[in-house]
Each structure stands twice: as C-alpha cells, then as structure tokens.
C-alpha cells in the first residue's frame, strides 16, 4: 500500500517521512525525518504553504 492511498486520520499514527531542509541556524542543508524527531522525544509542528517569496 502506498502512503497516498491511506488518508491520515486525527489521533492516528503518522507514517515516517523525510524532508530535505535548509537550517538557518547552522546555515546549512540537511535532511530531517519524523522518526528522528520522535527519537528526540519532541513534537513535530508542520506548516505547509504554497510558495517561497509569497506570504505564509
């Protein structure tokens, strides 16, 4: 089953995902995954927006 075929539900488990990131604090590129954040015992706040150079 692909990730896309199963809609996420509130209260349900989010499958692991990975994103390429720019980290302004380190001024460097890298990747981050949900599993990585979970292993640090932290919450994940995701903030989607359509495009850079516009408003959020």
């Amino acid at each position: 089953m692909t990730l896309e075929s199963k809609p996420l539900q509130l209260g349900g488990q989010v499958p692991n995902f990975e994103l390429a990131v720019y980290d302004p604090v380190k001024n460097d590129f890298g990747t981050i995954s949900l599993d990585e954040i979970k292993s640090q015992g932290k919450w994940t706040l995701l903030f989607f927006y359509p495009a850079d150079f516009t408003f959020v």
Binding site: G11, L19, Y22, L46, F47, F48, Y49, P50, D52
Partner: protein, 131 residues
Amino acid sequence: MGAVLITVSTDTQFVHLAWKRHEKSLENVQYLMGSDASGKVSRLFGVYVEDAGLALRGTFIINPEGRLLNSEVSFFNMGRNIEELMRKFKANLYLAKKPAEACPAQWKDEGDKTLTPGPSMVGKVHEALAK
C-alpha cells in the same frame, strides 16, 4: 519548547535559502525550512494540489509518539498567524500532561479554565466555565 517546527513548500531548500536571505521579515528565522519538491509529504497530509504543484496552507501537530493531534487547512489566499499555532500547541502540551481535562475555545495558556468532561458537565458547560 520540545518541538521541531518545519515549514514546508514544494520549493527546493536552495530557494528557501535565497528567500531567507532576500526577505527582510525572515531575518530572524530559526526554524527548519523543508523542501517537498516531489509533493510526497504534501500528498501524505492531503494538502497537495496536483494541478498547481503547490501545497495548501496546512498546519499539523504531531506528538512525540507520532500521533496526529491537530490538522487545519486553509486555501491559498488565507494567511495564518503564529499565535494560532502556538495556542493549539500549548493546549496539546497541557492536555498531554492532563489527559482527563479538555481545553475549551477560550483557553489560551496554562492557568486558564479547563473542563473535565463527565456526567455533571452535561448541559452545564456554561456553569462549569463560570465557576
């Protein structure tokens, strides 16, 4: 605050860097700027618009166990403010500590009135909040 904030668009991380350098209001940005160029993560969260190749304005809160606890999506033309997200995040943090309680609409921060659902509260929310 025990959380990792990631902003996500379908731009590349290189464009994120250029935007951050260029836009004065992003001068003090400390959060991770995520790239979902393939749209995979945006599709997972149901915010990807196939025709546009862009993500809608979706906000999601995931707890440290990987459970999705909040989801809110706005169309392209409606912006959000960070206070809205922080109120929801603070409420989640509080409720994680006090699972028997519930945060009503007016709840803003720890110390504000909460509700404890149970038989005595049924039909008496107004009185419970006035206490």
